[in-house]
Point group: C2
Chain length 299, copies 2
């Protein structure tokens, strides 16, 4: 079994490589940066010729497609979402045409219509509020029909909120951890909104388990239990001894942000058979340990 992993040097990607290798896959990675220990191709996936040549060269049986524009603050509305739709559709087609059998893509809870508290793959409608959400949602719909028409096995791992070692700055947990460890004030929202957070190692393991399963269609990848953002930030602050740095309410919560975003995880637990390894407490310990290393290295 030979798997090609796109977005392999991203937050989830780096952890997914190890999870796939542990399951016995021959792992081939696509990433901008070198990935020690893995065969890596520094290919521009938005370039049609490069993309097709790569797929033909690797001829993978499995493909885990994680690459997308994820630039903090910009990806929600970036026109690059259109280019990633196009690249993802063509990737699936090239993959199938060289004999690929199992195609798994990372989606997002932002595909769902905000409104429900708990999002279920079978019953919650998808009518996304953002270009990013719509691009992912549209890609999934089209890929599902394509896979169905040619007989390709296709699943879509719908990611909720992630945290953990290696997260880039510009996101909630990474910025909070950095501020708390460097003594900087952290102005934030009132923090009452509840979100479904899953440690990135568990997210990557869940995607590997999904790839390794015969489950098709959309599968939520979350903890199954939303926690108030305040609980998570308080947990970080308690561990660093500086709760005074958290300025709750110093920033407004956007009115478009729902009160609760929680994944229904029946498919993930019962069909894929996945159980998370990290509790939130263990995950916050792990995350801060990594950030301590970064901060003392001057990052």
């Amino acid at each position: 079994m030979r798997v090609l992993v796109t977005g392999a040097s991203g937050f989830v990607g780096r952890h997914a490589l190890a999870a796939l290798a542990a399951r016995g896959y021959e792992v081939h990675a696509v990433a901008r940066n070198p990935l020690p220990g893995f065969t890596n191709y520094p290919v521009d996936l938005l370039d049609e010729a490069q993309r097709r040549a790569l797929v033909a060269r690797v001829a993978p049986s499995h493909l885990l497609h994680l690459a997308w524009d994820a630039e903090p603050g910009k990806y929600w509305t970036s026109a690059s979402n259109l280019a990633w739709v196009a690249a993802s559709l063509d990737l699936a087609r090239s993959f199938y045409e060289v004999g690929g059998r199992r195609f798994v893509v990372s989606g997002t809870c932002a595909e769902y219509t905000w409104g429900a508290d708990r999002f279920d793959e079978a019953t919650t409608p998808c009518r996304p509020a953002t270009l990013y959400g719509a691009a992912k949602d549209g890609t999934r719909r089209i890929l599902a029909a394509y896979a169905d028409s040619v007989g390709l096995s296709f699943a879509w791992g719908r990611l909720f909120y992630l945290y953990g070692p290696g997260e880039r700055r510009g996101r909630l947990v990474s910025d909070a951890a950095h501020a708390l460890l460097t003594g900087a004030a952290f102005p934030t929202s009132p923090g009452h909104q509840a979100r479904d957070f899953l440690h990135v190692v568990d997210v990557a393991s869940a995607l590997a388990a999904l790839l390794d399963s015969p489950v098709t269609g959309a599968v939520n990848i979350g903890s199954g239990m939303a926690v108030p953002v305040r609980t998570l930030l308080d947990g970080l602050a308690a561990r660093t001894g500086r709760p005074d740095l958290l300025h709750y309410g110093a920033r407004p919560l956007s009115p478009s942000e729902p009160a609760v975003i929680e994944a229904a995880t029946t498919r993930l637990r019962e069909e894929v058979g996945f159980r998370p390894r990290f509790t939130l407490d263990a995950g916050l310990d792990d995350t801060l340990a990594w950030w301590r290393g970064q901060v003392s290295a001057g990052q």
Copy 2:
């Protein structure tokens, strides 16, 4: 007002050019074949460089995007649907980036979930049964979000069943008209299924009216009244004097074909302000007149 029309030598496209010219647009066409009387660019729209260069050169204020794979018998499942999604998204982006303001695309009733008899833009769900339907549906969803995010005016003309002069062979009305005029047997389904047929000149006029309006989102383009296929075929046979050539029931109707497909046309009539010109009777006369010309010319 300068409009670029893709798919301009197609069944709808040729009629749309005249309708747009009549509304005062400076018409630029993209088509494989020459179009006497119109400025035409024989560009391959699936080629990114050609497509972008064309949009930059014409710099249209309006775009009517009709091009797609429409090869009879194949387009429902062709992988080229994926390439047309990609080309359509990039076309919208290029168009917006050169200053384009109004973007209208042709969709299909196959975007709807079969099940209802009458399809309404606001209330009938879209969960298409085919790759073609899913590709159009996904494209619409993504383009609507893109248009929303950048402030582009965007509408989607959802076509139902078309007939009229210039239809390629391999489709119901064209094949029936040809058979009836050449004395060939025409084996067909029992013909009880009702479909919403609109004369192609009316379809093209409706799209021109939609482009010329400020209406956004999906708009059904149909007659608003489904008729049994048998009524339409009997109408052709009565006009040619050879009802004996119609062999109803000689072919099965696919079990996936719904009993009724009818467009709700409130948006088209009240918001766009469009009224069809052809009754079914006048439309069948007109269609047969054209086919008589073709047949005597040996086509």
